[in-house]
């Protein structure tokens, strides 16, 4: 049965204004869903029940007074790498198990000011490093579509929470695909905005030149609404772009007649599951009927992008994660001197994947190897950007599968890091180039698991990206729900 917690934020916003429901009721619906399924899904690391009740009541008062922004009263979940004042923020890591931030990240600060209701913090791969959510120190998240499979990662908890009706929408972070890939595997909409459009202030850093805050929603319109609240210049983040705050829902229904779509040739080759290929091809076939033109385009350095990413991201991570030294916050393991204390603390506090990337990055940046690895990877980054410049000279929007596969069994790839990294081959280029990209569900494969369709637009063309995704979403008409929900 469809309950309040299963509706889109847009529909709930309408109902709230029409007096058909209240934020307190919507919150209760989400909480009862969490109670019913989260012992199996394990999307949440912490719930903020007391806080949420107060926020919902306050939102109801604002709505009654006719002074409520679009996001007011709609329950939200936040990935646990986004800092929340007074609420533990662990990054899925033992090293930050007891950390309570003294300040809010800007994205949540803006949502809170607009009357958002925080359900809790969601599970994720440790420090957002992973593609399956199996790297969380607090256990894996289970995909609501098939509990024996992964929800994708690293923002797996946020994706699963939205897919299972535990949250109406959620924020995640996307450094190499960590919003779009789990959105794809979990059958929801995942938006990675242009690098710098949403402030990174309070996003606990993984790879600073690639990190973005993104959204998980049940519709493209919801993504536009949520983005409108969190986007725009923030003086607290020096890499934040000089963009004014605006309403991204405004031009959503203008259609895509005349838009030129480029189908990325490299994204349909070896390693892409037939079920993924067929579903995405079928979605591409709908574009003609919508008045758009479709052609083939090449991003020739796609494979090199993967190699470059697995040098650049670990290099930046090894530098960023140097701050976990047992001095100012987090875990400390005693040692006879400061160096021994740091070394033992980091050895005990970090999990296997984080250690792997710290080692990889430290090596790639070390004397004698810097130029051969990090320096060369930065050149490949230039080539990726040139690929996009050439592609966008002939096309307005690029399309591809989001991920080569649908959800895979928990445990299937944990012993093979390279196979795990290949999950991100189609999502990484947008991080290297800063371009906005979105994953929307295109259908189910033969196993009944969701397939994701990725659209990419030029830097700061979110409006065009969302307009295209909205038109396709309506044409596809994906309305499947995980069996888990029907059984509640």
């Amino acid at each position: 049965m469809t309950e309040l917690c299963d509706l889109t934020a847009t529909e709930l916003e309408r109902m709230l204004r029409a007096g058909e429901t209240s934020s307190v009721e919507i919150l209760a619906s989400c909480r009862s869903r969490i109670d019913a399924v989260d012992d199996r899904v394990k999307a949440f690391l912490a719930r903020t029940d007391d806080l949420a009740v107060d926020q919902a009541a306050a939102a109801d008062a604002r709505i009654a007074a006719g002074d409520a922004p679009a996001v007011a009263g709609i329950p939200l979940a936040l990935k646990d790498v986004l800092s929340t004042a007074g609420v533990a923020t662990t990054c899925g890591s033992r090293i930050l198990e007891t950390y309570v931030p003294p300040y809010d990240c800007t994205a949540w600060d803006r949502l809170r000011a607009d009357g958002s209701v925080l359900l809790g913090k969601t599970n994720c791969d440790e420090f957002a490093m992973g593609s399956s959510n199996e790297n969380s120190a607090f256990g894996p998240v289970h995909n609501p579509w098939d509990l024996s499979t992964v929800p994708g990662g690293s923002s797996g908890g946020s994706a699963a929470a939205v897919a299972a009706g535990e949250a109406v929408w959620a924020l995640g972070t996307d450094t190499g695909g960590s919003v779009r890939q789990p959105a794809s595997l979990s059958g929801v909409v995942g938006l990675k905005p242009t690098y710098g459009l949403v402030s990174r202030y309070g996003l606990i850093a993984f790879a600073s030149s690639l990190d973005t805050v993104g959204t998980f929603t049940r519709s493209v319109r919801d993504a536009a609404s949520l983005l409108s609240c969190i986007a725009g210049k923030d003086p607290l983040d020096a890499t934040s772009l000089d963009t004014p705050r605006r309403d991204y829902t405004e031009r959503l229904e203008e259609g895509i007649a005349g838009l030129r779509f480029g189908v990325v040739r490299e994204a349909f080759g070896e390693g892409v599951e037939p079920g993924v290929r067929d579903s995405v091809r079928a979605a591409v076939d709908r574009l003609d009927g919508l008045g758009a033109s479709v052609g083939e385009v090449s991003l020739p350095h796609t494979d090199y992008g993967l190699s470059a990413y697995y040098l650049i991201a670990p290099s930046e991570a090894s530098s960023n994660l140097a701050r976990y030294d047992g001095v100012r916050y987090g875990l400390r393991v005693d040692g006879s001197d400061s160096v021994e204390m740091m070394t033992k603390t980091r050895g005990a506090g970090f999990g296997a994947e984080v250690k792997r990337r710290i080692m990889l990055g430290t090596y790639a940046l070390s004397a004698g190897y810097y130029e051969a690895y990090y320096g060369q990877a930065q050149k490949v980054r230039t080539l990726i950007i040139r690929d996009y410049d050439a592609a966008f000279a002939g096309f307005d929007v690029l399309v591809s599968p989001t991920s080569p596969t649908t959800a895979f069994p928990i445990g299937a790839k944990v012993d093979d890091p390279l196979a795990m990294y290949l999950n991100d081959v189609f999502t990484i280029p947008a991080n290297l180039s800063g371009t906005p990209a979105i994953s929307i569900p295109s259908g189910l494969d033969e196993k009944g698991l969701p397939v994701g369709f990725q659209l990419t637009a030029p830097v700061l063309e979110e409006s065009r990206l969302l307009r295209a995704a909205n038109a396709l979403e309506q044409a596809i008409g994906f309305d499947e729900r995980p069996a888990l929900i029907a059984a509640v």
């Binding site: 020096a238 890499t239 470059a308 160096v339 005990a348 950007i385 990294y421 180039s433 830097v459």
Partner: protein, 96 residues
């Protein structure tokens, strides 16, 4: 060919304690990952400039005005150990 790495040296640079098992696993895994990563050298020719940030910005300035900041208590609230208003750590320098 898989790349040979001095794991002990890199772990020392990273201030990261590793068990013998972890060292062995990382030696094998990093070798394979770096072999794949070294592909960047195939296309990164001398005439291609490096990119550090996709959307470069420089000299991002703000007015030099005092504003609110965290209190000392807030800053120290997560400290594993403290003494008064300071973070306390084990000895750093050798004692004569």
């Amino acid at each position: 060919m898989a790349v040979e790495i001095d794991i002990e040296h890199v772990a020392r640079l990273a201030r990261l304690e590793l068990t013998p098992d972890e060292r062995e696993r990382l030696r094998a895994q990093l070798g394979v990952i770096l072999e794949h990563a070294a592909k960047v050298g195939e296309v990164a020719t001398a005439d291609v400039p490096p990119t550090a940030y996709a959307i470069p910005r420089s000299n991002v300035l703000r007015p030099d005005e005092p504003s609110a900041s965290l209190t000392t208590e807030e800053v120290l609230s997560n400290a594993p150990d403290r003494e008064g208003d300071r973070f306390k750590v084990p000895r750093i320098a050798e004692v004569e």
